[in-house]
Structures are given as structure tokens and as C-alpha cells.
């Protein structure tokens, strides 16, 4: 049945098989080199466009359009002294569709107040009268809804309150209570209108004022660039890693006051953590008594707090969300603390 040649072939095949097995067993297993000291080169590639209208460094210290030259400023803001010692503060707000740069080379079709995200900061003293002349130059119905006391007609939240494209509305109310508040659009779908960038900071100073300080505004936000329900870019004041590229200059020992708000969509919570220092936190800024002495605060959607601190040492200090995913997606910055003797340009604009 089985001829000789065939038997030889059988033997050869088996011998080859055994030889192969031997080869495989004897061949040295390639060891994977685990000794690595490389680091991930985190951050965004490239630089932000230089001709962008919105500069987070300017935004940091701008309120009531004080970043504009006087003639230009008058188009958007006027203040008038009233007989009772308070002020009438009038603002001209325009809802506009605007392409904004949120990471170098990455552009987002935002819905904005006055072409910027966050919108212009409103700052008044307790008891002042605030009047907002709002015109919708956008493509969807929008409103301006303020946190703080106001009458129902000024709430800007019900469908009857929605201002259609091309239409106007004037919001008026007294600035109270003192603290750190927000304003934002309340058109539906609410989530979309907020995610697209229609929000800003509204500060009410107490009548007696606060101790002079190096003040700055930080609004934590995020952008879902591919509209899949998850943010692709996180930041404080819109541009990812901006304050890493342009560290915020402060002086050692000076009082630093940070107005922090959280307007991130799609994530229930956000936080700010400042390295190597501790601060007093005043939740919602509605009390002059600090709540906690800490180096991190968590803020839910729409929550805000005032932080007061003095940097102990000179040098570079990081600040970021302690939701580390957010920080590596853009919500990270640096403080550059300089000696108080160092001459440095006064960033506070009056």
C-alpha cells in the first residue's frame, strides 16, 4: 500500500517539523526595552493666529469694555451717575455667529455675544441699574438670561422671551446681590445655545468694595467640535493651553483675586487647582467670609467662586483642572510669579 518513497517522504516531513519546532524554541525571544525616560510632549502644536480679535490675556482683565479705546467703548458701554449715588450702566449687546479659534488652527462655529466667547464681562456695584440693549444679529432666536435678582419679565428664559434674528429687547434690573454671577442665553435647546458660546461673567461688587488686588477673570469652558456629545477642547477663557504659551504674570506677595466660573457643557463638574499655593475661596462671592482655605475647588455647571491668594515664591506655577482629562485637552495654564521689585507692566486697565 505505502511504497518506500512515500515512507521516506513521511519521515522527512516529520524531521523538518521537529527541526522547525527546535528552531522556534531556541530562537531568543526579543525582549522589549522598558527602560524609557521619554515623556509625552503634551500640548497643542503651532501658534494662535496673531490677528484674532479675542485675546484671552486681555479678557482676563477686561470688564465693561475697558479694553477698548474711549470712542470705541462708548458704542458698547455708558455709565451715568444717578441722584441716589448709584450708577446707570448701559450695555449694547449683539448676538453674532462667529468662527472662533479654540486651539491653534482649530476653528469652531460659535454663537457669541459681541463676537467673543466668553461674552464681555459686566461689572457693577451693588444697587446700580443695569440696562442691556440686546439685538439679535445671529441666525437663531437668542436671549440674555442673568443670574441675580430681577423681575420675571427680564428673565429671558420662556419661549415668549426668545428674541428672533433681527429683533431687539432691552433688559433692565438692579445689580444685586453682590457676588460673582453669570449671564447666558436661555433659548432652546438650552444645551446647544450654551455649548456654542453664549455666556459671560457678571460681577456685582459690594457697596463697600473689596481690598485692591490684581484681579482676573477665568471662565472654564469646553467645545464639542465634532458635535458628538463630548468636548474635544477644554480651556479656561476659550483657547486651549493659552496661558501655558502666555503665562499670567503676577507679583510675589501681592493680593491676587480670581473670579472663576464654570460654563463647561457635556461634563457635570469642573475644577481649578493651583500648584504650590493655597487660597481662600468665597463661593458665589456672596459673603466676605472665606469658606475654605484650599488649593482646589470643584464647580458644577454654572457654579462660580472668588479666589483670593498671595503667591509665596517666585517662579512658574501651573494651574489646571484636576479632572486631568480636561487639563490634557487644553484646560491648563501657568502663573509667572515675579519678585515685587521687578518692574512689570500694569495689566489692570481702568
Amino acid at each position: 500500500m505505502i511504497d518506500g518513497k512515500y515512507a521516506i517522504a513521511l519521515v522527512v516531513v516529520f524531521l523538518v517539523a521537529i527541526f522547525m519546532a527546535y528552531l522556534a524554541l531556541m530562537s531568543p525571544q526579543e525582549k522589549v526595552e522598558q527602560k524609557t525616560h521619554a515623556i509625552a510632549h503634551l500640548g497643542v502644536e503651532g501658534e494662535y493666529s496673531v490677528n484674532d480679535k479675542f485675546d484671552p490675556y486681555i479678557y482676563l482683565k477686561s470688564w465693561n469694555f475697558n479694553n477698548l479705546p474711549d470712542t470705541e467703548r462708548q458704542k458698547y458701554y455708558r455709565e451715568t451717575d444717578l441722584s441716589d449715588g448709584t450708577k446707570l450702566r448701559e450695555y449694547w449687546f449683539y448676538a453674532q455667529d462667529e468662527k472662533i479659534e479654540i486651539a491653534p488652527g482649530v476653528f469652531y462655529d460659535a454663537w457669541t455675544y459681541n463676537g467673543q466667547v466668553p461674552g464681555p464681562t459686566i461689572r457693577a456695584t451693588e444697587g446700580d441699574t443695569i440696562r442691556i440693549y440686546f439685538k439679535n444679529d445671529g441666525s437663531k432666536p437668542h436671549t440674555v438670561h442673568f443670574h441675580g435678582f430681577h423681575e420675571a419679565e427680564m428673565d429671558g428664559a420662556m419661549p415668549d422671551d426668545f428674541i428672533n434674528p433681527g429683533e431687539n429687547f432691552t433688559y433692565e434690573f438692579f445689580a444685586e446681590p453682590y457676588g460673582l454671577h453669570l449671564y447666558h442665553c436661555h433659548s432652546t435647546p438650552l444645551k446647544d445655545h450654551l455649548a456654542r458660546g453664549l455666556y459671560g461673567i457678571y460681577i456685582v461688587d459690594p457697596k463697600q468694595g473689596r481690598e485692591p488686588a490684581n484681579e482676573m477673570i477665568m471662565l472654564m469652558n469646553g467645545f464639542d467640535t465634532d458635535f458628538d456629545g463630548e468636548n474635544d477642547v477644554y480651556a479656561v477663557n476659550t483657547k486651549a493651553f493659552y496661558y501655558v504659551k502666555h503665562p499670567i504674570k503676577v507679583k510675589k506677595g501681592e493680593l491676587v483675586r480670581i473670579y472663576v466660573g464654570n460654563m463647561v457643557e457635556n461634563d457635570p463638574i469642573n475644577s481649578i487647582h493651583i500648584h504650590a499655593n493655597f487660597f481662600n475661596e468665597f463661593r458665589t462671592g456672596t459673603s466676605m467670609v472665606p469658606g475654605e482655605y484650599t488649593d482646589i475647588i470643584e464647580l458644577g455647571q454654572g457654579e462660580r467662586a472668588i479666589i483670593e491668594m498671595r503667591f509665596n515664591n517666585t517662579g512658574m506655577y501651573m494651574f489646571h483642572a484636576h479632572q486631568t482629562e480636561f487639563s490634557e485637552l487644553g484646560w491648563m495654564g501657568m502663573f509667572q510669579v515675579e519678585s515685587s521689585e521687578d518692574p512689570h507692566e500694569d495689566m489692570v486697565m481702568k
Partner: protein, 388 residues
């Protein structure tokens, strides 16, 4: 009268050209362009993992240009280097990312365009991409030997056993072979269809699949139709041997695709080849040997030369496939080879049934044969459990 005929032949084409000219000059192109946002699309063609470095090759397979603005690794922005950030239709670029990726862990690489669209590449298990050197060539040759060549040769050793069988059980094993081959064809289709979503949209994976499949099936059929006239004169022995070679060729093309899949999956880190997987492939491919020798089992003398050639024809392409897959992989080529393999195998199925009909007269669908076919499918299914 010939010249006017040619003119008549190309006249519609000339008219089409004129029509396109009119459309470009006066047509509503502006309307089409402004009405919709740009259609951005990027495909990842290759991912190379080196020590602390990730290199990706991408192609713009959408109609409009795409600008790569940022790159993320595992959901974190990372610095990167590339020669070209804006890609026109079908342009490619290579992006280099310094990143200390971890061996054996998942890796997600995302590319963010200037419009904020995100394109992701998932690597389930990151592993260092093999470099083209002798050590890796040897490794993959040994792997190919184990997975392809040795099992096929072992399967050939069933020849003496098949020789002892009566005609009825011989037909059983031919049917068994048909079952194996049909399973392999379906498997190849499954793999190929899976790949259609991996190739860039513009390359139309499904069309490549259809072309590869029908081109092979019909060309081989035409060849054997012509050849069968000569063979009939030479007798049944020649016919059986020719059939064995055809089966070996079909399985060889299939194994080339299998080798490609193994090599590429290994090189792009989609699987780390476990020993169980290799054993699974070995058992799976053992059955291919039976398929090859079944037609010649009825012949008394079979030369060793032919057996070795048959085994090499069926098994060796695994090694070549693994090499190509590991070092010069392209989803499109793999897709094409799988389709060609499916066509070749189905052609063999047709040939075997013809062969059975020629030897036994009219009846093919006897219970014995149906049982053989079903057992063939089941054996492939059971050995396949180790591969999945």
C-alpha cells in the same frame, strides 16, 4: 466604410465632452458648492510604532481639502511633526508623534482638522512594529511554516488512508473537501468585507472585492473549459492530478491572504499572536491537505515530486503573505487577494463537483455526500473556534 463607423463609436463621447464643457461654463456649480459644508474625510493607511515614537500615514480620501490642525494620543493633545498640514484630494502625509506609548496597552490616535472634525485610529494592543531585518524575516518564515506549510504537508499524509477507501467513502471525502472549501470561501468573503471599511472610501472596497472575485472565478473557469478538451484525451489520471493542482492553487491564494492578515495584524499591533491562535490556524489548515489529495487518492501511483509541489503551492504563500503583510501592508492589496482567493476556491468547488459527476454518473447529492459536505463545514467550524 470603416472610418465613419469609428466616428459613430466615439461620437457620444465627444458629445459628453461638449456637455461637460457647457456645465463647467454655465452650470449651477456655485449652488452646489455653497449649499453644503465641506466633506472632510481622512483614512489611516499605516501606523508604525517605534520606541517612544508613533508614526502615522494618512490620506485625504474625501473630495475637499483637509487641514490637520492638532493630534491627540489617548485623548490628550500632543505635539507632532509633519511636512504637510493641508492635504488635497488623495494627498498623503506622514505625521510623527513623540510619545512614550506602553507595550501591550491600547492606543487611540486622533487627528483634529481645522473644522474640529476628529478622525480616530484604534490600536487594541500596542506593540513595536517589526523592522525589515533578517531576524524578523526568519521569525515570519517560521510562523508561515507553522501556520501554512507544515499543516498542509501533514494533511497530505492522509493519502494512504484515502487510498484504502471504497468509492462511496472516497466520494464522502470529496464532498468533505467541498464543505471545507465552501467554508474557506465564506471566511475569505467575511474577511474581505471587513476590510472594505478599512480602505479609503475613494478606493471603493466593495468594487475591488467584486472585481477580484469574478475576475478569478471566470478566468479560471475559462482556462479549465479550454483545457478539459485536451485532458479528456489523456484520461482520468491526468484529470485528477490537474484537479489537485487547482485545489492547491486555490488554497495557496487563500493562504496568501491568511498570511497577509497575520503579518499585518501583527505589524500594526492589532493582535499579539498568541500561541493558541497559531495552534488554531495549524488545526484549521491541516484539513486543507486532505482537500488537495482527495482527487488523486483513487490513482495508484502518485509521485513524491507532485506531492511536494502540491504542498508547497498550497502552503508556501502563507510565508510570502506574512512577509508582505508585516513589511509592506496595504488593506487594499489584502482585500484584493482575499477576493481572488474566494474566487479561486469557488472555482475549485465547481471543478470537484464536475469530477465527481464524471466518475459516478448523474447523482451527486447522495446522503453520504451531503453528510461529507456537512462534516466538512463542521470540522472547519470547530477548528475555527481556536482562531476566533
Amino acid at each position: 466604410m470603416k472610418l465613419p463607423n469609428i466616428l459613430a463609436g466615439i461620437f457620444p463621447i465627444i458629445l459628453l465632452g461638449v456637455l461637460i464643457g457647457i456645465f463647467l461654463a454655465f452650470g449651477p456649480i456655485g449652488l452646489l458648492k455653497t449649499g453644503f459644508p465641506p466633506v472632510e474625510s481622512i483614512s489611516f493607511e499605516k501606523v508604525t510604532l517605534e520606541q517612544d515614537v508613533i508614526i502615522i500615514e494618512i490620506i485625504n480620501d474625501g473630495p475637499d481639502s483637509v487641514t490637520i490642525s492638532q493630534v491627540l494620543v489617548n485623548d490628550a493633545y500632543n505635539l507632532f511633526k509633519t511636512d504637510k498640514q493641508t492635504l488635497n484630494h488623495l494627498e498623503r502625509t506622514t505625521i510623527r508623534i513623540d510619545y512614550p506609548w506602553a507595550e501591550g496597552l491600547p492606543l487611540v490616535i486622533s487627528v483634529l482638522t481645522d473644522d474640529g472634525l476628529k478622525f480616530e485610529k484604534d490600536i487594541p494592543i500596542a506593540t513595536k512594529t517589526p523592522e525589515l531585518n533578517l531576524s524578523y524575516l526568519t521569525t515570519f518564515a517560521i510562523l508561515g511554516m507553522y501556520v501554512g506549510v507544515m499543516p498542509v504537508f501533514l494533511g497530505l499524509l492522509w493519502l494512504p488512508f484515502l487510498r484504502t477507501l471504497s468509492r462511496r467513502w472516497y466520494d464522502f471525502f470529496l464532498s468533505f473537501t467541498v464543505g471545507l472549501l465552501v467554508f474557506l470561501a465564506i471566511d475569505a468573503f467575511k474577511e474581505a468585507i471587513g476590510l472594505t471599511s478599512q480602505v479609503a472610501l475613494v478606493f471603493q472596497g466593495v468594487a475591488v472585492l467584486a472585481i477580484g472575485f469574478f475576475l478569478t472565478l471566470f478566468t479560471l473557469t475559462a482556462i479549465s473549459e479550454r483545457a478539459s478538451i485536451d485532458v479528456t484525451k489523456k484520461g482520468v489520471t491526468e484529470h485528477a492530478l490537474r484537479l489537485s493542482y487547482m485545489i492547491a492553487l486555490g488554497i495557496g491564494v487563500h493562504n496568501l491572504g491568511e498570511g497577509l492578515a497575520i503579518g499585518s495584524a501583527y505589524s500594526i499591533g492589532e493582535i499579539a499572536l498568541g500561541s493558541l491562535l497559531v495552534i488554531g490556524f495549524m488545526m484549521h489548515n491541516l484539513t486543507e491537505g486532505i482537500a488537495i489529495v482527495a482527487p488523486i487518492a483513487r490513482q495508484q501511483e502518485s509521485q513524491i515530486k507532485h506531492l511536494i509541489q502540491l504542498g508547497l503551492l498550497a502552503g508556501a504563500p502563507t510565508i510570502i503573505g506574512a512577509w508582505i503583510g508585516a513589511f509592506a501592508f496595504s488593506n487594499l492589496a489584502a482585500l484584493f487577494f482575499l477576493a481572488v482567493g474566494a474566487g479561486a476556491i469557488l472555482h475549485v468547488v465547481v471543478e470537484i463537483t464536475k469530477h465527481m459527476k464524471k466518475e459516478d454518473g448523474a447523482i451527486i447529492f447522495t446522503f453520504t455526500n451531503v453528510l461529507g459536505f456537512v462534516v466538512g463545514l463542521l470540522v472547519m467550524y470547530l477548528t475555527g473556534l481556536f482562531v476566533a
